[in-house]
């Protein structure tokens, strides 16, 4: 039974990807482009050495974002606020990093600490509102996402912006000194002259992934977390304090969300500017859904999304709009949830059928007797 479940678990994301390929093929056919050459080019471009580095670099923040969403999902909390939690965290961490010039370990600790604290504090607001006032976290995090945009652009314009000269009007924070740059893994893997370095944050992400697994599946807290998610009433009756769980979970989720912007900040941009990647929080929701809230699944999903992002770059050179990939991602999210739901219903129906057969087999001899 377990093997069949596992198989069904893989069928769902696989069919979602197939459906996404189908929909994007139709989109491409409609504009008279050959979908097969497009996909072929994407794959052959995506497995080049430089692409793989880029894919991993793209996957790391998505992985962290997926974990941040997943820990909420595990207890039935929907943290849509990852988007603003990582945004404010990255902005303020960049501000702190740009203002300080300290030795590397201290500098990095302070930047990362700021990010985690800011993310967690911003997530604490919906948690407190939910616990004390019963405000649904989806609504409050949506509202706070928009509030954060206002606060962030105000802080950036008023306090954090690097003074500009007449010739340079770009809006950016002060650059973080070299001591606040995250080490790259290039030397470790013997990568020479890469187009883009391999961010050392990969190691951090893997460690966090392992920590996530241990926390959720191997500790008392994790058990209570999953119990609250599976059946909140049963968990409460057996002594889990739901308010405390909500606060703790949102703090963890927000803290993780705070790290989402860090790979880009500490390895690449070294400042917060208007080109800073956005929507990582929303994509994290997708990644968590596709990965079924398990670190391994989330990792694979993050790599898939990273692959799509990166390999789409080649399409523009061949006059195929690379935006087709965004459609693919949207379709994957929607169809993967639908597929999981369909699979769940199939399993349920099968179980009902099996039980009915068993019950029938047990009932039949009786009927014969009475007949």
């Amino acid at each position: 039974v377990r093997a069949r479940r596992l198989l069904l678990g893989f069928i769902a994301p696989a069919s979602a990807v197939v459906l996404a390929l189908l929909v994007s093929s139709i989109a491409l056919l409609l504009i008279h482009k050959n979908p097969f050459t497009a996909f072929q080019q994407m794959v052959s471009y995506g497995i080049q050495g430089n692409s793989i580095i880029a894919i991993v670099n793209k996957a790391v923040p998505l992985f962290l974002s997926g974990l941040a969403v997943a820990i909420g999902f595990k207890m039935g909390l929907f943290n849509i606020g990852v988007e603003s939690q990582y945004y404010l965290a990255a902005l303020l961490a960049a501000g702190v990093g740009g203002a300080l010039h300290l030795p590397a370990p201290i500098e990095l600790t302070l930047i990362l600490g700021t990010a985690v604290v800011v993310g967690a504090s911003w997530a604490l607001i919906p948690a407190v509102l939910k616990v004390t006032r019963g405000v649904h976290e989806v609504i409050s995090t949506i509202m706070l996402n928009s509030v954060a945009v206002g606060i962030g652009s105000f802080l950036l314009a008023r306090y954090l912006k690097r003074p500009t000269s007449a010739s340079d009007l770009t809006t950016t924070t002060r650059p973080i000194p070299r001591s606040g740059w995250f080490p790259s893994l290039d030397r470790l893997f013997g990568i020479k002259n890469p187009v883009q370095e391999l961010s050392g944050f990969l190691v951090v992400a893997i460690l966090i992934g392992i920590g996530f697994y241990l926390l959720v599946w191997r500790t008392r807290f994790g058990f209570e977390l999953r119990a609250s998610g599976a059946n909140a009433n049963a968990a409460r009756v057996s002594g889990v304090n739901p308010s405390a769980m909500i606060i703790k979970t949102m703090l963890l989720s927000g803290g993780l969300a705070g790290l989402v912007g860090m790979p880009h900040l500490l390895s690449f941009s070294h400042a917060y500017n208007l080109d800073f990647p956005t929507l990582l929080g929303f994509t994290g929701i997708a990644v968590a859904l596709v990965g079924r809230n398990h670190p391994v699944g989330i990792g694979l999903a993050a790599l898939l999304f990273g692959f799509l992002d990166r390999s789409a770059q080649i399409l523009d050179l061949n006059e195929i709009p690379k935006e087709v990939v965004q459609i693919m991602q949207g379709v994957i999210i929607l169809s993967v949830v639908v597929a999981y739901e369909v699979v769940r219903r199939l399993i349920q129906a099968q179980e009902v059928k099996a039980t009915a057969e068993k019950a029938g087999a047990m009932a039949r001899p009786k009927e014969e007797v009475t007949a």
């Binding site: 004390t132 006032r133 509202m143 928009s146 206002g150 935006e323 991602q329 999210i333």
Partner: protein, 428 residues
């Protein structure tokens, strides 16, 4: 006998008149407060017809999204995808507006939004997946689809690009009421501008009201009129007709509705598709009335503000309209001068303090206490500063909603089965 009698009595029908009266009273009080603040701070812009006119223009998209949310949530489907459906509305509205003319833009914009709504309905009603998840997915999908379509449709020869459409030529007609606001009548190009005359006198209260009325009667877009008419229409449809009762019953208690023969799935589909169409119309309004083109990121989270208006307006069309007006007003002030925005802070401070006293008198100490602190903070801020940054004014709708949710959540009444998936034949 007495006990039996009481138990047989039907519960009192929902009282409409006091609710409306109270709502109007609140709006009136807010306006009065505004006038007082205007007098105290001497910033005439607060109640000028220009300010009210642009408030109305900015309120319409929020109103349409909010009304859309009413339809969806009244049939029990939470629609986070409003933002994405609005994006569809901007894209298709601009495309058809550019190709065939503004009214075709309206049709296609609504159609684009409705298509998004249909997708949401298929995912949440037929497949029963989580409504939030589906909404988030639609928002992401809308960004991708509109970007893709822009690349395909707006080549360099059209004057558009991957992120914006070419200019839409012309717009829907505009109306200025004759005599009252100086609009043309029977070919006479100039009629008296009664409200304008009163407004320019700067009389206490009188001129302010004239400003408000002139803002609401001058240079009205046909779409604005449609949007305003949709408010009573929605109320009538949902609360006074048979199909409206069926739709609402599905949002309150689908099992019971089903047992009485109401087609639950069809009602849900209807509500969600209408919701998408209205959000799409809101998007089209942005294209035709504000920018004249489609631009990426044009909706600026207005779908989400529509959701906020829904909550603030207690899931009712009249409330949504009031909320949209408030949010539109705050948005319009941002475009005005700094002193006007600064004066708004005093308005917020006094308003919050009054609300605090009211809560306090009803023995709601915690809520009252929170409001007192907030009001005093706003008052302090007003007294020590000269300006309020425009970026922060944009957060007003969201903060107001959070405040309402956390202070008055007991008074809010969403549909009972809102957000819960329903499968035919399920037990309670």
């Amino acid at each position: 006998v007495a006990i039996a009698d009481r138990s047989l009595k039907a519960p009192p029908p929902e009282q409409e008149a006091p609710r409306v009266k109270r709502g109007l009273l609140l709006v009136g009080l807010a306006l009065l407060l505004l006038v007082v603040v205007r007098q105290l701070t001497d910033s005439t812009e607060l109640t000028s017809s220009g300010q009210f006119g642009s408030s109305l223009r900015l309120a319409v998209p929020i109103l349409l999204a909010g009304l859309g949310a009413v339809y969806a949530e009244r049939v029990g489907v939470v629609n986070i995808g409003l933002e994405g459906m609005m994006v569809f509305g901007t894209w298709f509205g601009a495309w058809a507006g550019w190709k065939f003319g503004p009214w075709w833009g309206v049709v296609f914009g609504m159609g684009g939004g409705a298509a998004g709504g249909l997708l949401h309905a298929v995912a949440t009603v037929t497949f029963g997946i989580d409504q939030i998840v589906s909404g988030v997915a639609i928002n992401i999908l809308a960004l991708g689809v509109s970007r893709f379509l822009s690349v395909v449709a707006y080549g360099p020869e059209t004057g558009g690009s991957a992120t914006q459409s070419p200019q839409v030529h012309g717009t829907v007609f505009h109306v200025t009421v004759p005599v009252l606001a100086g609009g043309p009548l029977f070919g006479v190009h100039k009629t008296p501008d009664l409200f304008g005359w009163f407004e320019r006198r700067h009389w206490f209260v009188v001129s302010d009201i004239a400003g408000l009325l002139r803002g609401l009667t001058a240079d009205l877009s046909a779409l604005t009129i449609i949007a305003i008419l949709l408010v009573p229409l929605t109320f009538w449809l949902l609360w006074k007709t048979r199909i409206g009762l069926r739709m609402r019953s599905v949002g309150e208690h689908p099992v019971a509705a089903d047992s009485l023969g109401v087609p639950v799935y069809s009602m849900k589909y209807l509500g969600v598709v209408v919701s998408g169409a209205l959000a799409g119309l809101g998007g089209t309004f942005l294209v035709l009335e504000a920018a004249g083109i489609y631009r990426e990121g044009q909706t600026g989270g207005r779908g989400f503000i529509g959701l906020a208006a829904l909550i603030f307006g207690n899931w009712r069309p009249g409330g949504v309209a009031a909320a949209a007006g408030l949010f539109g007003y705050a948005d319009a002030l941002r475009l005005r001068s700094d002193p006007a925005i600064h004066a708004l802070l005093l308005f917020v401070a006094i308003g919050t303090l009054i609300a605090a006293v009211w809560l306090w008198s009803r023995r709601k100490r915690t809520g009252g206490g929170v409001l007192v602190v907030l009001g005093l903070l706003a008052l302090y801020w007003w007294s020590v500063s000269d300006t309020v940054p425009g970026q922060l004014v944009g957060t007003v709708p969201y903060l107001t909603t959070l405040l309402v949710l956390s202070v008055a959540s007991q008074r809010l009444r969403p549909p009972a089965a809102d957000g819960r998936p329903y499968r035919k034949g399920q037990a309670e």
